[in-house]
Symmetry: C2
Subunit: 387 residues, 2 copies
């Protein structure tokens, strides 16, 4: 049964090979002072930086550069960005990069004019902004997080070894997001497939809950099927526009909140994965792939009918055998796909050591929407099996 929900997602998505041509029309809707946030400089090597700067110049913008946003953006970097934004009284934050840069930009946008400590207010107490929010626009160069069409903002506190995702409201979503699939061609293979698994994980977190027959679950299955097919093409030919464009659109749809409407969600894999990230600085998608198989095999008995449906509808497994056998065949098909695209299957490869497991588990909040509410020891056991 679909429960009560409110859906409101006013992000304007501009998609396709020609998407950047429409950036100027968006920029002129904001004042002249633009903060340009980006990561480690890959956008300078692949030419996107020069293209964007030219459009900023043509539209008469004064640009305040904010480079160096790291893959797991820290609260220290966020506070520095907030200072730059405030001191220069910027009218727009233009985030050019993957989910990390966009997540970071949302946090900066909410923090710049906020007197309180943003870590405490937004990420620990999960409060909403109570002061002026700077508009954010995004130009996406790596797919996976869905940050281009939602309010998610995952920030790491290295001192506390905590990596926490705040979900801001629609007033803090990007006002516009430019999605050119060609901009994702030069992402290294490791990051590309990590993003693919992140998409899969978002869909599974929303899918593995509830006992009804739900339109949102049908949509999640459709997106998973499209992702599986197109990811297999993209790993062989990263410049296959059809595959990359389908994956880009799938990624946005996977976490623009449409597929969760009216239903419970799990998110336990993300909580464990984020805690691994806080301890190791590992690539987000790989922290998810490392724990997913042990996690789903552990909870399978508690949500068996959904795992059977997952096996037959998503992976095309034939339905012969017991429910447990069919469900296991589905996870075996997923395991084969994970090996084919080349994601990490063992947390040890990410730098996780046995002595960290108890602390990683302690850093993962317990989720209650999935088929099994875990306790601390069970998380440790799943982490152990992931090694």
């Amino acid at each position: 049964m679909l429960g009560n929900f409110t859906f409101y997602n006013p992000v304007k998505l501009i998609f396709g090979k020609d998407a950047l041509k429409l950036l100027a029309a968006e920029l002129i809707q904001y004042g002249p002072r633009v903060m340009l946030s980006y990561g480690g400089g890959s956008i300078k090597r692949n030419g996107i930086y020069d293209q964007v700067m030219e459009i900023l110049r043509i539209t008469g913008k004064e640009v305040f550069e904010d480079p160096g946003v790291m893959p797991n953006p820290t609260i220290g970097k966020l506070k520095e960005g907030a200072r730059i934004a405030r001191e220069n009284n910027v009218d727009l934050i233009l985030a050019v990069g993957g989910g990390s840069v966009i997540d970071y930009a949302k946090g900066v946008a909410a923090s710049a004019w906020c007197e309180e400590d943003p870590w405490e207010k937004f990420y620990m107490r999960e409060e909403n902004p109570s002061c002026r929010i700077i508009p954010v626009g995004s130009i996406l160069t790596m797919v996976g997080t869905g940050s281009e069409m939602n309010g998610g903002s995952v920030i790491t506190n290295p001192d506390l070894k905590l990596k926490i995702g705040k979900v801001f409201g629609p007033e803090n979503f990007p006002k516009f997001s430019v999605l050119n699939p060609e901009f994702t061609y030069t992402v290294p293979h490791y990051q590309m497939v990590a993003g693919f698994f992140d998409i899969m994980s978002h869909l599974m977190e929303q899918y593995f809950s509830g006992e009804d027959d739900n339109t949102s679950d049908y949509i999640a299955e459709a997106l998973m099927r499209s992702l599986i097919r197109n990811s297999r093409i993209a790993v062989r030919n990263p410049r296959d526009y059809e595959a990359r464009s389908n994956i880009m659109w799938t990624s946005t749809m996977a976490l623009n909140t449409m597929t969760k409407m009216g239903k419970a969600q799990d998110w336990m894999v993300h909580m464990i994965g984020q805690s691994i990230g806080a301890f190791t600085d590992a690539t987000h998608g790989m922290t998810l792939s490392a724990v997913s198989l042990p996690y789903y095999r552990y909870i399978m008995p508690y949500g068996l009918p959904k795992f059977v449906r997952f096996a037959t509808e998503v992976w095309g497994v034939d339905g012969h055998g017991t429910d447990a056998e069919v469900a296991e065949k589905g996870l075996q098909a997923m395991e084969a796909w994970m090996k084919e695209i080349g994601v990490v299957l063992h947390a040890a490869e990410l730098g996780v050591t046995e002595d960290m497991l108890d602390d990683i588990a302690a850093g993962a909040p317990i989720c209650t929407g999935g088929y099994k509410v875990l306790n601390h020891d069970e998380i440790v056991e799943i982490l152990r099996r992931s090694m």
Copy 2:
């Protein structure tokens, strides 16, 4: 391959049994003068009118009543509504009803402060509004058209025997739409199943185009599968909340423009169906069901791979036999479903007579996005087969 597109849909959807409780919070964002548009009075019989009036009273609104919006709203009624809205300087148009009432309200909203003739400007020349647009909110009582989350506005000119759909931009979408599945319980069976087929037709119009493997098509398949399953439950028990809520959400998703992004579309069935409606005043969904099987059987050879996919992925037909045989089995499965839910299969039942066929065909604009661009004689032939 996904082509260039812009997606921007800022409608706030408020969904569920408790949705109406959130209406007041929306209403207080607008001025005190509210025009209340609705249809033939069913909302007075089922109690929705009283509930809405109480919320309007509590929020201090002055209400200007605008009843009598007909199932196929006429341009004459639209001009009358525009006059009421303008003369009373209303701050909001609240449309309570099905797609007809919401389609009408969008037209009124764009026309009230427009000096030009709305029929000529919006529906014939397809121009966009160039003057003040009155905000529209909707409370949905019948599913099918998807009007609650798009810019569609279908208006009939009885004198010219033309029924034309204008697609307004996001500035003319409803600002909010209240979707309570229970409000659809009292819709008569004939109108209910006509709405179900309208949903199916929207998905098919967007699905049957292109030769690639497209994320939007996977989503369309998911929505069709959910619709087929839940419609079978709803015809047996119209008060099955799970089925009605899934159908309501499916209906909105089917035409909120998400499933057409980046791809060509057909819409020929809608053009023929709307022309039948202009000549007969028949229920919209039934005009679509009457022509769909002859139409799709006629174009099947031109898009055979997609019809095979439709058969296996949507209807679960086994893939044995030639492509043409598998495709036909898919349409047979659809025909069996149409008979099961009880939609009209023959245009003659809607009042269409042989002597009308040539004029109905002439009133249907030729669409070019589907698998076969029809000529006038082919439309006449499809209409003949639909009799």
